[in-house]
């Protein structure tokens, strides 16, 4: 009975929410914006160093957001490995070893790596970029993991932590260097904008892949025993 | 920054610094702690004495700085402030001496003396506060610093008393805060001003001012133990004797009474309060409290409880005095602020001595105590007669002045209240005195402790003797300029504008 009541209430709430949202969208759709941001953006695209407007927004106009976004990803990675088993992220018991899978992967993994590289490169003038490339890279890692290829580099040692923070650190370094060279925090010098953006994208790709992979493989077992203050 | 600005601050700092040092000292450093305590108390007495002389010569001491937008922190030494400050400084020294003896060999002394000093610092702050806001600040500080003293023993009974105490006083504080905030909205900052801040009241403020007055009195009345807000006082007497002495004589109840004095004289002004018809109501409540407290005291078999109800009754003399609204009647009320303090502290010191030396708490155990402890008993007797109003003691001065004032104000019924109350006082004090002096000791003393040939420890004996001496002198030399009555007349000519 209470269950039915709960469902009814939640349904009512969701309908109210939906109608409010639809009404709001409808109202907004009928007006025009006071600021024309796309035009402003098109006007400044040449100064950004890349041809693809989305990449320009991500890595130049709103690069601060992107820096912080990578920060969020690193946090998730840290929190992930902090609850992981201490010796190795890899659990041998979960590894399958199938000859056919292994053979197929020897074909597939190089291909995905190539694809990732392409996506990264394409990012400057058409859809693509660090995140897409990183995701593909991570996917190939996931395949390797499932196919039984050992990945001992994923132990929560210095290497892993270095990998997690690499993209973020380089991004940050560029930001700081730009600040120290006299211009504002995160202001790229125009002539170097493209080089810097490509460099950043490359390391970001590696880091993003690393974080996603670390989160995928971190086994939920460790021997952490924190006496709980909130307990009794 | 000149000396005139710094003197009140220094006086305040003596007790505050003492509190900090005492908290920092390790528990077992008893001698050092006593030294710090006594030094601070003596220093403070000197500073206050200096200020009293200065105020007498017409100097003004004070400091002010903005705290919150629209609100200033003001310390100011005027004649009325010095009346209370002098009382508190003098009694702090004596109570400290007494406490050192009383708490010998008991645990948690560091905590006790620390909060004790804080409590006295708040009292001085209340005295020196130059506006209603600053007054409130120290008023609440007093509440907090007395709680650990009330629950000091840590027994179930003490903890329960502490809870009652804190519920009453914090609720009173909240009510008072409401009143003060409302007044602020009506008229901005509220300095204490001779003749009253609202002396020239706008007619449209009549209604709100009346309501706020009731709120303020309700808030202050909790600490002043006006019936029916007095419930915490008899319960709180489970505290150690020096705490009770301090609570009843200077700190808590007096803070409430002093607040009422400030509100009536210097916020509303006697004329405005009278014009709003507020004084007669207040007088009726005060008169009822006087009689009710005395009647209740009759029924108490525990000595300290009887004294507690006696306090309920006596503090309202001060309030009743104000309501007489004439120079003489007001003088009677104000002077009782000091007289009651001296008398009541003597009584509590003595009650503590009986308890500490002989283990006596109930009145029917006191038979024959006079022969065993003559010094204490003489002090007790003097104070009790003072309370009854026997000439030439301090209490007589109060009642006589008030009676004269009542005649002058045409409020003859007050004289009847005074007479009945005196009879009741006699009715509950005389039996005690009879037992002490004329009763035959029946049982051995409960827990007798020996101090060689002396009746009790010198730390415990001297404070009540000194205060008893005071109350004798206050009566005998009432017309001298520095007697309490003389000082009160100075206040009235200077600050009340009657």
């Amino acid at each position: 009975m209470t269950r039915v009541l709960a469902i009814l209430t939640v349904t009512a709430v969701c309908f109210a929410f939906l109608s409010g949202l639809v009404y709001s969208i409808w109202q907004i759709g009928a007006t025009t914006t006071p600021v024309d941001l796309p035009a402003l953006l098109a006007g400044n695209l040449d100064d950004s160093g890349v041809e693809n407007p989305v990449t320009a927004v991500l890595l130049n106009f709103r690069s601060y957001d992107t820096l912080l976004e990578i920060g969020v990803l690193v946090i998730a990675g840290i929190a992930g490995i902090s609850v992981a088993k201490t010796s190795s992220l890899e659990d041998p018991e979960l590894r399958t070893s199938d000859e056919l899978l292994y053979a197929l992967q020897r074909w597939l993994v190089p291909l995905t790596l190539l694809l990732a590289g392409y996506l990264l490169w394409a990012g400057s003038d058409r859809p693509g970029g660090a995140f897409q490339a990183g995701a593909v890279l991570a996917a190939s890692g996931v395949l390797m993991r499932l196919g039984g290829i050992p990945m001992d580099f994923l132990r929560p040692g210095l290497m892993l932590r270095l990998g997690l923070s690499l993209g973020f650190s380089v991004f940050l370094l560029v930001a700081v260097a730009s600040a120290l060279s006299g211009s504002r925090f995160l202001a790229y010098p125009p002539e170097m904008a493209r080089t810097l953006i490509v460099a950043i994208e490359t390391v970001l790709t590696l880091s993003i892949a690393m974080v996603l992979l670390a989160l995928f493989v971190s086994a939920p077992i460790n021997n952490a025993e924190e006496p709980e203050e909130g307990g009794s | 920054m000149t000396a005139t600005a710094l003197l009140p601050v220094f006086a305040l700092m003596t007790s505050l610094t003492a509190a900090v040092i005492i908290f920092a000292l390790p528990e077992q450093k008893h001698r050092l702690r006593t030294f710090v305590n006594l030094t601070a108390a003596i220093l403070k007495l000197l500073l206050v004495g200096l200020m009293i002389r200065g105020v007498f010569q017409g100097k003004a001491y004070g400091i002010a700085f903005p705290m919150i937008p629209g609100v200033e922190f003001v310390l100011r030494a005027d004649a009325l402030a010095m009346l209370f400050a002098g009382l508190s400084a003098a009694l702090w020294l004596l109570t400290t001496v007494y406490s050192v003896g009383y708490l010998e060999n008991s645990p948690n002394r560091s905590r006790f003396f620390g909060f004790f000093s804080l409590c006295v610092a708040s009292t001085l702050g209340i005295a020196l506060a130059g506006n209603l806001f600053t007054f409130f600040l120290f008023y609440e500080m007093l509440t907090l610093s007395t709680y650990p003293l009330v629950v000091h023993r840590g027994t179930e009974q003490a903890l329960r008393a502490g809870r009652t105490y804190i519920i009453y006083t914090l609720a009173g504080g909240a009510v008072l805060l409401f009143g003060i905030a409302s007044l602020h909205v009506l008229s901005g900052d509220l300095p204490f001003r001779p003749g009253g801040h609202f002396a020239d009241m706008a007619p449209d403020l009549q209604m709100p001012l009346t309501i706020v007055f009731v709120v303020l009195i309700a808030g202050l009345g909790v600490k002043a133990a006006i019936v029916p807000l007095h419930g915490w006082l008899p319960v709180a007497m489970v505290a150690p004797a020096p705490v009770s002495a301090l609570l009843h004589a200077v700190a808590v109840v007096k803070a409430g009474a002093f607040g009422i004095v400030r509100v009536v004289f210097e916020i509303y002004g006697l004329e405005t309060a009278g014009a709003l018809g507020l004084l007669s109501g207040l007088a009726a409540i005060a008169a009822f409290t006087i009689l009710y407290g005395s009647v209740m005291a009759l029924y108490q078999s525990d000595l300290k409880r009887r004294l507690a109800f006696s306090t309920v009754s006596q503090v309202s003399y001060i309030i009743l005095g104000l309501c007489l609204a004439g120079p003489v009647g007001v003088a009677g009320g104000l002077v009782h602020l000091v007289h009651q303090g001296v008398m009541k502290i003597t009584l509590f010191f003595c009650a503590g001595n009986y308890a500490e030396t002989l283990g006596l708490h109930r009145i029917d155990e006191l038979d024959g105590a006079g022969r065993r402890m003559p010094g204490t008993s003489v002090a007790f007797t003097l104070a009790a007669f003072g309370m009854i109003g026997t000439p030439p003691l301090a209490g007589f001065i109060t009642k006589w002045t008030m009676g004269t004032g009542a005649l002058a104000a045409g409020m003859d019924w007050v004289i009847a209240v005074l007479v009945v109350s005196s009879l009741l006082n006699a009715a509950y004090f005389l039996p005690v005195l009879r037992r002490i002096w004329f009763g035959e000791q029946k049982d051995p003393w409960r827990e007798e402790r020996q101090w060689g040939r002396s009746e009790t420890s010198a730390w415990l004996l001297w404070p009540p003797l000194v205060t008893a001496g005071f109350l004798l002198l206050a009566g005998l030399l009432a017309s001298a300029p520095f007697s309490p009555l003389g000082w009160v007349e100075l206040i009235i000519t200077r600050e009340v504008n009657l």
């Binding site: 953006l41 969020v72 952490a224 | 709680y147 504080g173």
Partner: protein, 489 residues
């Protein structure tokens, strides 16, 4: 000079997060202390700059507002930056001694701590709605990570619950941002505010504002959406609880307050303002009552946060459709409440941690006799309690006083019940703790003594929150620069 300071402020926490990620606990601690010194100095310097010259806008990457992200450094922001520096420094120092360096997973405390700090600075300075969203997520994920750090199933339960609430809140906020972007074509808060003055049709945006308030209120744990807070704040390690209660919940509230003050006059409504106020009032009573009932020390403190957060929401009804003077008064009250609660609550959690360390239990009645042995921590706890009760001369009192004045001035007397009654209720639960500590139980005489360093930190915080009441005027004079300059630009 200012550019260097801004770079220092934004870059230090992020860089230190990376540095501490690469090291172990002990070295991370040493590095952190250096970082704390830098951050505190930078924050102080910025505060001095703003106090002397007024606030300024800081376009990142040199791109102006609608296109790029502009930061807003005004009096209110810099006050909160400084507050964050103080509280985070105290918590970080305390954590350095409090956490066991030999437990391997404690090394991750430092990077999460620094990311949290970075996220808070993002929020205080944010003037871009989407940037604020990223900042909020930075804070939430770091906070969840800290709650879960090395925890057992109870801690994980609390962390998951916290994460779910935070995610829902962020999404609601983001949906509001999406609608705003659709309406105004801009993400800059001041840009939207100036567009609102041009008298355009904004019917769809009211719902967006409601969505954002819902999300932010959920993240701020406003009653009745507070249920995630007490488990999370109660079970985390004490320095973490201090950070969460003192700063993290304030982040989302701060965004709501900024939105309201900039856009509320046009997009808000009387009903919304009163609703938020009423929920705040109910939070005060419900939180206080729950704190009074709980028998575990840290739960008492956590529920007290629920109650104290409630006061903040009185800002909304008290700034709706009223005079400039009252609006300023209510803002001052809100600022003081945020600062004093942050200082007092951090002091309370840190000293509660010391007390728990000393008696080895989180139960209230285990505190019997602790007043002989640990008066210092108990005293800090008590002083902080005085501020929560709103007794003079603490910052809590100053805030309550200003709220009272604003309520009376706008004739909304019903908030008096909340302000005065809430104070009494908080006195009730604080005195319960005192009372427990005054119980004499002479059988118990084994207490673990935490080091003096652990005891001194909460003391300093408690004294600061006490002194705030006396020093409110100068603090507020800098904070007021916010609204003088912030609206003009």
């Amino acid at each position: 000079m200012t550019l260097w300071l801004m770079a220092g402020l934004l870059f230090t926490p992020l860089a230190w997060a990376v540095l501490t990620l690469l090291t172990g606990f002990r070295r991370g601690r040493a590095i952190t202390w250096l970082g704390i010194v830098i951050q505190v100095l930078v924050s102080l310097a910025l505060w001095a700059v703003v106090a002397a010259e007024g606030g300024f806008q800081y376009p990142l990457g040199g791109w102006q507002a609608p296109l790029g992200i502009e930061l807003r450094m005004d009096g209110l922001a810099v006050t909160f930056v400084l507050l964050t520096a103080l509280v985070a420094a105290a918590s970080g120092l305390h954590a350095g001694f409090y956490l066991d360096p030999d437990k391997d997973w404690h090394r991750y405390f430092w990077p999460l701590f620094w990311f949290l700090w970075a996220g808070l600075n993002v929020v205080w300075l944010g003037n871009d709605l989407f940037n604020l969203y990223v900042g909020l997520e930075l804070i939430s994920l770091a906070a969840v990570g800290l709650v879960a750090l090395g925890g057992q199933s109870e801690a994980l339960r609390a962390a998951i619950r916290y994460l779910m609430a935070a995610l829902l809140g962020s999404l609601a906020y983001l949906l509001g941002v999406a609608l705003f972007y659709g309406q105004f074509g801009s993400l800059s808060l001041s840009g939207i505010a100036s567009a609102l003055n041009q008298d355009i049709a904004v019917e769809g945006s009211g719902f967006a504002l409601i969505l954002m308030f819902f999300g932010l209120a959920l993240k701020t744990a406003l009653f009745p959406m507070h249920r995630w807070l007490p488990p999370a704040h109660g079970i985390a390690r004490s320095p973490v609880s201090a950070l969460l209660s003192a700063l993290v919940v304030k982040g989302s509230f701060y965004i709501a307050a900024r939105l309201w003050l900039e856009l509320g006059a046009t997009l808000g409504s009387l009903a919304l303002a009163q609703l938020l106020g009423v929920l705040g009032g109910m939070a005060v009573f419900w939180g206080g009552w729950q704190a009074f009932r709980h028998s575990k020390l840290k739960q008492v403190v956590a529920y007290s946060s629920v109650a104290q957060i409630g006061y903040l929401f009185l800002l909304f009804p008290l700034t709706w459709n009223t005079t400039e003077a009252v609006i300023i008064q209510a803002q001052q009250a809100m600022t003081l409440q945020v600062i004093s609660h942050a200082l007092a609550k951090a002091a309370m959690f840190l000293s509660a941690g010391n007390l728990i360390l000393s008696v080895g239990s989180n139960r209230l009645n285990a505190l019997a006799g602790v007043s002989h042995f640990l008066p210092f921590s108990l005293f800090s706890f008590g002083l902080a309690g005085v501020s929560l009760m709103g007794l003079p001369p603490t910052g809590g009192f100053a805030a309550k006083w200003l709220f009272l004045q604003a309520s009376l001035a706008t004739g909304q007397w019903w908030w008096l019940v909340v302000l005065l009654g809430g104070g009494l209720l908080s006195a009730a639960y604080v005195f319960r703790v005192y009372r427990a500590s005054f119980v004499e139980d002479s059988d118990i005489d084994h207490f673990f003594h935490p080091s003096r360093r652990l005891e001194i930190i909460p003391m300093i915080l408690a004294l600061l929150s006490l002194g705030l009441g006396l020093m409110a005027e100068p603090v507020l004079s800098v904070m007021a620069l916010a609204f003088a300059n912030g609206e003009g630009t």
